[in-house]
Structures are given as structure tokens and as C-alpha cells.
Amino acid sequence: MRLGRLLIALTSFVLVSLPAFALQPPTGQSEFVPVESLPPGDQLPAAPLLVTAYAFVWIAVVVYLWSIWRRLNKVEDEMRALAQKAPRR
């Protein structure tokens, strides 16, 4: 009876540990080899940075002009409201 339990426990252990061994990652890098420059595929592309910089300049100008236009409209609205109120007094 005891032997049977031991056999079941051993079999379970083997069955559970087998997938763990099977899923082991490949062997790690054993040494690092230095190079003088990055391979072209790893280099940071310049074009997106250039386009982003130029686009930012335009977006900043448009947003600023929009903010002035909005503030100017607010002032004009207030002036109109005051002009309408004034004759009633």
C-alpha cells in the first residue's frame, strides 16, 4: 500500500516536472562582442525627428493664433454685450 502511494507520488512528480524541463529557454549568450558602430537596422532614423520638429513649429503657431482669435472673440462679445446694456440705463 505504502509502495503504491510512493509510486503514484514519484510518477506524478516526473509527469509534472517533464513539461518544466521541456519549456526551458535556449542557452544564454556566453560572451559579448564589441563593435565600433551600430548596424544600420538598429540606428535611430532621423527623418521622423526632423518631420516632428517642423510639424511642432507649425502646430505651435496655429495653436497660438487660435488662442488669440478665441480671446479676441471673447473681448468683442463682451463689448457687444456692454453696448447693448448701455442704452437701457
Binding site: L44, A46, A47, L49, L50, T52, A53, Y54, F56, V57, A60, V61, Y64, L65, I68, R71, L72, V75, E76, E78, M79, L82, A83, K85, A86
Partner: protein, 218 residues
């Protein structure tokens, strides 16, 4: 000044459309390659900022010592425009540096003092907005302080050791790079003048509204 607005707007528009064509035709720099072309609108944005600071500082001096509301409006407008162009410089610079230096930002003298200059003029805007009565005089003092700091921002690369390119780069540009560069400088200056005029006009209308409120209360 109002008559000049139309021609300046047209000229600025034409030049800003032409600038990318000039930049595209400019030769590549030998060590930095394509990304160096950010230079053609990074440096002009700082030039435009420095000019706006000059206007702001001058007008602030006039307002501080002669209590001139018109000068105050010009100082307020120029301070705001200076922040806009400073922001362009502070955004385009790191985009260039990321590729050229491998980092977005470096806490060296040039970059740090440029950031402080931008923050000085942002503080000027905040003082005007939340400073209450007398904030125009405080903002004028901030404008004068900003003007005094500006030469240090320009000369920082010659005074301290930094990773930023030196000021000698611009005077020694070959003609093939100098022509598009000065074209872009002219375009940015025109844009700065244009934005300044629009912003001064807003200040004028706000002053007219304040007078209307005062007349209405009386």
C-alpha cells in the same frame, strides 16, 4: 502699422512655404547627416525669441519708468511671443539632440539656462494673470530681468564647456548652408513680427473693453 500687416503676412506666408524647399536642397552635414536640418528652424526660433525679448525688455523699461500703457501692451505681447518661440527651440532642440548626442536632454549650462529663460517669461505671463493690481510693473521687472539674462544664454557655449555646438558655427557656415539658414531666419523674424502685431491688437481691444467697463460703472 495696420497697413503693413497685409504685405508682411503675405511675405511671411511665402517665405514659410519656401523655407522647407530651401532646407531640403541644403547639403547634409558630414557628421550628423539628415537630422542636422533641424538647425534651420531651431536656431531661427531662438533668434526670434531673443528679438521678442529685446522688444519686451525695451517696452518694459519704458513702462516701468514712464508708466506708459501702450508700452505695457507691447511688453505683454512680446513676452508671450517670446515664450512661443522659446518653446519651439526647447522642443526642436531635444529632437535634434536625441539623434546627435543620443540623449533628449543634458543638464549642461547652455540647455539649463535656456530653460530658465523660458521659465522666466512664463512667470511673467503668470504674474500678469494672477498678480492682481500692480502686476504690470512686476511683469515689466521680470521682462527686464529676462533681457539681462539673454546674452548669457547666447554666450553660454563660449563661457562654459557644454555639448551644444558653439556660436562660431553660424558665422562660418558655407554659402550652401548659409543661404537657407538666413532665409529661415528672415521667415521666422517676419512670423514673429506678424504674431506680435496680432497680439498687440488683442491687447488694444482688451484695453478698450476695460475703458468701456469703467465708463459703464461711472
Amino acid at each position: 502699422m495696420r497697413k503693413a500687416f497685409g504685405p508682411i503676412a503675405v511675405l511671411a506666408g511665402v517665405m514659410l512655404v519656401g523655407a522647407p524647399i530651401m532646407v531640403a536642397r541644403a547639403p547634409y552635414e558630414s557628421t550628423m547627416g539628415l537630422v542636422q536640418k533641424i538647425f534651420y528652424f531651431h536656431v531661427p526660433s531662438w533668434f526670434a525669441m531673443f528679438t521678442a525679448i529685446g522688444v519686451c525688455g525695451g517696452a518694459s523699461l519704458v513702462h516701468l519708468f514712464r508708466n506708459n500703457p501702450r508700452a505695457d501692451r507691447i511688453a505683454e505681447a512680446a513676452g508671450e511671443v517670446a515664450v512661443l518661440f522659446g518653446l519651439m527651440g526647447l522642443v526642436t532642440g531635444p529632437l535634434w539632440g536625441r539623434k546627435a548626442w543620443g540623449v533628449w536632454w543634458q543638464w549642461d549650462a547652455k540647455l539649463t539656462i535656456a530653460l530658465l529663460l523660458e521659465m522666466t517669461f512664463i512667470s511673467g505671463i503668470l504674474v500678469r494673470k494672477y498678480g492682481g493690481p500692480g502686476s504690470d510693473k512686476l511683469a515689466a521687472a521680470v521682462g527686464i530681468f529676462g533681457l539681462a539674462v539673454t546674452p548669457f544664454v547666447y554666450e553660454a557655449v563660449n563661457i562654459w564647456r557644454t555639448i551644444h555646438p558653439l556660436t562660431s558655427v553660424v558665422p562660418t557656415l558655407p554659402a550652401s548652408m548659409g543661404a537657407p539658414f538666413w532665409f529661415c531666419v528672415a521667415a521666422f523674424m517676419l512670423l514673429m513680427v506678424l504674431l506680435l502685431m496680432v497680439r498687440v491688437n488683442l491687447g488694444k481691444r482688451q484695453a478698450a473693453l476695460d475703458e468701456l467697463y469703467l465708463a459703464y460703472e461711472d
